[in-house]
Symmetry: D4
Subunit: 205 residues, 8 copies
């Protein structure tokens, strides 16, 4: 239906068989990319029997078919505060790629060591949109949005403990950002952030 | 600093004198638009003594100076579920206008009477970005994002009672939207939504 | 005691032996249907040794004896937003059937793809009562209740993640519905929804 | 549109002028009952200048026009745990009357003095539907639903203090009722309960 | 130190070895009863190697030494709403017995079937203190306290699901009881309830 | 009905006229004490016109009639952590007196200055029951219960700010006390604590 | 008792007369500084009648007597993210001064405009302890603690709206800081932060 | 970078390989102590293959290299309310040692048995800073801070059940302490408490 948007299946809460069946049907009826998020390895194993061109990304647990995407356009920067935020960041990156965006990544630039971020300001300025992934207190999107004039999509992660409340703390933090130009998505929702960022990135064409 | 961005003062928690003083200083040092949000009428009264070209919008409690804006660009649609959401919607509209966006409005199209929304699908498709303002259960952004392929900025409002929790219910609802392409801002944050939408709208130039 | 009501055992938090023993006693002392909810397969295995006419439904984990029910009466429509909501929807369907209601089902009609729902309005109008099962942001009951003039029983599910809060988000959403005519039951409580809907359906006789 | 349903305006968050204007328009364009909920006396004062047949109920703050209702049908019992729950109970009663239901009331039968409830079991059995309004710990709907075989619509109220949490405590209590056949509406939502009960009562015709 | 009080070890969060070691030391240094709560079977196995007179109660996971208790005094009634509340009720019963109280039990008398409770009012009146254990909506202590003139110790349990919130719902319910004479202890804290009830029961001597 | 228990009216959420009317009726039909809690001065003014022997206590806002009480029995100690807790403590004291208990008070003995408490241990030991009232972090009941072998009724107050959450913090603190023998009542519920303590105190006769 | 510590009265929840009386008694019995926090102007007016040397600070609502303090020692930096945080920051500053610390202030250096903070790094390095006051998302203490090697006392403020939850959002944010060396105090607790910082500052002598 | 501070890796949410790799790199590039917190035994096993001088502490799950620390300075007292709090207390102790502090420990001195604490007041007075670790209701830091004039770092633990809320109860309790001089860190954050206490202890040199 939507030109240039992948077909997406949210595999959590479905049996591997159900997920695989839907993914295969989408691969057979469409011509664009196909994506299964939150998919266990079993889903991948089932899918590639019929469609060997499907790929799997371990960390973010994504099954996908790169197809009919064209050369990457624009520029999106995905920033992850720490290495533990990588699964979520990867979900955003892959979603962006399947939606045709050129993607850059910047990792381990949390606010506890601000110089690592400040040393790469050029890369921040070059992006059309920025996806900022952070757990703990979720301060990074505020800092980044204060440095750039582009839209920032903030993704809280469930990385933390105690009063972190499974990610509610960085979520609330991001919603109350004192910097303007920040839109927030659900905890660990790398897919949603990538999807929205790709939509925005596309507008710059 | 930022070209085409208004100078903004958040007046809540400041005395009218403090707010007025900052607004006047900004009016005197800059050349672009100046905006004071959450400002009581006293702030306006103080400001216009010195600067009679400042205006005031009652519902959203905004004091502002339309200056150096240029002709409106692009197209942003601001949708409000009900009339009680108008103060927040107006905050978004005015922010968008001060940031140079062409703005359309659609009011009283809550999900309880879906035909009012479905009867105006054309207006939805014509926007580059949509700001959707809703209180109660906050279902409207999900429905709108399901109908369009453009970015949707969702704004929960504090309109409701009981288990509405001062707007937390529509906020959570919007963050858990089953539609893709939704970015969320804080409860009643019409300014933040307008600001982000204006940034995105600008990319279409 | 209650004519036409099944005898029901809530098996969660009981040992399989305890559950089985109560179910068998009910099967032996009564003449109507018997139902065990949230029952593991072990309960079924124990029960059918003595009573081979008991059945088991995997998805909703129900053990039951269809007995003394009579021909289905009235019309209840059970709507599930997505496939992941099926376990809860099935619990409602089976409860309704055991209580003598004629039941229809409609699946995968979430608000992200509204046309699927709007394309079947006739089926909505034909029901006396509607049970609407939804996770994520729980917007579906609002939309459905806005389209029909019959009572809607809303069931939030624990399908979701992050700020979904184990189903609290759709629960709150449903309680704050801007559509009138919605009664809400506990998260994942397909049984409770089916029971209440069957009571109401019966009144139309 | 809907035969036999009143036109309803939720007046909270609207100016008295706005509310009055909509109520007057509804009175002039329709032929059935008109209802304004959560309306201050100013709304009533404005409305009756043009339409002297409008009435006002102080406790529940309802402005209404009894018109085209017909003789009351069926039987609905509205039970209030205490006198402090009367504003909410009245909202339910008036809504029911405007929707054509015959209504009975039972007041001050909280669970702390169970004999007052048990002494009137006959009245409980005679109702087609029961609306049960309770604050504090919200135990009354569980007790009532355990005594009757008809649908119970439970309404938590904000009457209480401390860990009552503005009505969340009885709301949660009602959602977790160990009795079957209970549908719950939002805190203090007497209108919603009356509306749903009237819908169900009507099915008995 | 305290005459007639058992020595108590809370075994959760201790290794079986640590727990066993403390229990054995207490058995060797004192002459009264010794009690280990929340103890796995391993603790019991370790303890009885040295002290074969220790006993174990599976359901409540208590390791204990009945010693120096004397003949039971007074009368305490422990009421459990359902069979799933038995582990917590047993914890209360055993604690009471070790502290020298005569204990009676009443099970499966939840508010959904009030006649089972009302049929045994005599037993309620005969107790000096009542411990009432309930999960779900936690309405039982309110009902019981409304029927008797003695102190009621209310124990919420974690039996329930969804908006039950791990027992917070019955806890809040009990704290907001509309009946007077209710003291509340922590969720699942059968030991605490038994301890307090035993203290009170003792005063009647 | 209950010998030696006062007739009690909870005046919050009732109009002064309603409260006064009920209090007067109780004064005329009974022979024992009558008590109105959370009553404004207007209630008192209305009541004493007819019944000049009613008294009023400003701090706790109680209207009451000391009648048919007899000489005080037993010994209850009401401890308040700080002067701001006095309104709640007074509610407990007066309730106890009306129920025939001999009452002692100890004020300003919070855990920040433990020596003030430790210097009066004798008074602690002499009481049959202790009511401990505390806001802030609510640590006092734990400390007191650790020092005595009698039942402790803990009353959290809404005295505090920020993360005090209107008294939820000391409430939770008291429910999780590491000392045994503590029963908890609702936030600011001095009446409930006094009532329960009087019941227990009476058992020592 | 404590050498060099002021005598402190928390005036909230006390009548002006009570507060004034205690302050006057402290002024008369001691020789060091006296401090009343959260005091209305009435308290000051009452106190200075007897003791004209008391002073009042409007913003933080503090009544105090500078006496026996000695020359300021060490160096503490109090940072406030925005002007709305000044009342809380002032509370910390005055507390520090009364406890003998040399105090510096830095205002309006929120993370949305990081260059204002980075431009004054020298002042950060010169402090022995830093008190960082911030509302909104509360990111500032994380950023500051990442830049310095000294202890940071973080104070969340109630400045914000919507999902700010009266300051819980920055409180949680600060507790989950990814920077080490941060201790947190209660929302708006400028006094507590100043007190703790003064204690630490003193150790550097 | 920071003289005398260990290099620290937070191993939770990293694979053992990732953690080990970073720890080894830090051991090879630096000359001071290296610390891995929340590390499983696998991390230790991997690390010591290359660097046999690494050690492991089971209870707190810390991998560390004691190197370049110098003789212990100052005096810090780490107090744990119960044995179940030992894992968190140990995390604080080891962190302090690696940062060069002389550390003392005091265990099992919860407020339920205050005499055990009061019997060791001398040890309290001798410390420059105190770290107080407590679960349950978290009252211990208030009591300790009331007894001493030195800074107290309070650490809530997740030891408890029911309304303990995974440690939120003692966290809130500590933030609302009625004693002055308390700074709070996140639930179970022994490392953070030790780090801050070491910073403060160092100032006494
Ligand atoms: N990780 C994710 N988080 C949120 N939504 C998702 C995610 N992955 C897929 N979705 C959405 O879920 C929808 C698929 O749901 P389903 O029909 O259940 O497969 C797609 O339209 C996506 O927009
Ligand atoms: N007290 C109430 N609580 C919840 N919903 C209400 C209430 N009163 C009216 N409504 C609903 O609100 C709608 C009117 O909203 P509005 O269009 O803003 O006047 C009606 O369709 C009613 O269903
Ligand atoms: N199930 C329980 N819940 C709460 N407190 C308990 C429980 N069992 C034992 N306790 C208390 O915990 C203390 C023992 O703690 P410990 O010193 O860690 O063994 C005893 O003094 C008991 O009062
Ligand atoms: N248990 C802990 N809790 C909180 N923060 C920690 C903990 N252990 C280490 N850290 C901090 O986390 C940082 C290391 O994070 P990472 O770069 O992900 O290894 C260090 O700078 C420490 O300050
Ligand atoms: Mg920016
Ligand atoms: Mg869309
Ligand atoms: Mg409808
Ligand atoms: Mg029933
Ligand atoms: Mg009673
Ligand atoms: Mg005790
Ligand atoms: Mg630092
Ligand atoms: Mg101290």
């Amino acid at each position: 239906l939507r030109r240039g948007f992948p077909e997406v299946v949210y595999c959590e809460g479905k049996t591997p068989e159900q997920s695989a069946q839907i993914l295969i049907r989408l691969a057979e009826t469409g011509e664009g990319p196909v994506l299964g998020t939150r998919a266990g390895r079993e889903v991948f194993d089932l899918v590639r029997r019929t469609h060997p061109s499907f790929e799997y990304e371990e960390l973010s647990r994504m099954v996908f078919l790169r197809r009919g995407i064209g050369s990457p356009k624009g520029q999106v920067l995905v920033i992850a505060a720490g290495t533990s935020d990588l699964p979520v960041a990867n979900e955003a990156v892959l979603t962006l790629e399947l939606m045709g965006a050129r993607v850059e990544q910047m990792i381990d630039v949390g606010v506890a060591g601000l110089h690592r971020l400040l040393g790469q300001l050029d890369r921040l300025y070059q992006a059309r949109v920025l996806v900022v992934v952070a757990g703990m207190e979720g301060a990074l999107p505020s800092v980044v949005a204060g440095l750039v004039d582009q839209p920032v999509i903030a993704v809280p992660t469930s990385v933390g403990y105690g009063s972190h409340l499974g990610g509610l703390t960085p979520l609330l933090s991001m919603l109350n950002s004192c910097s303007s130009g920040v839109g927030v998505v659900n905890i660990d929702n790398g897919f949603g952030a990538g999807y929205l960022a790709a939509m925005i990135n596309r507008m710059g064409e």
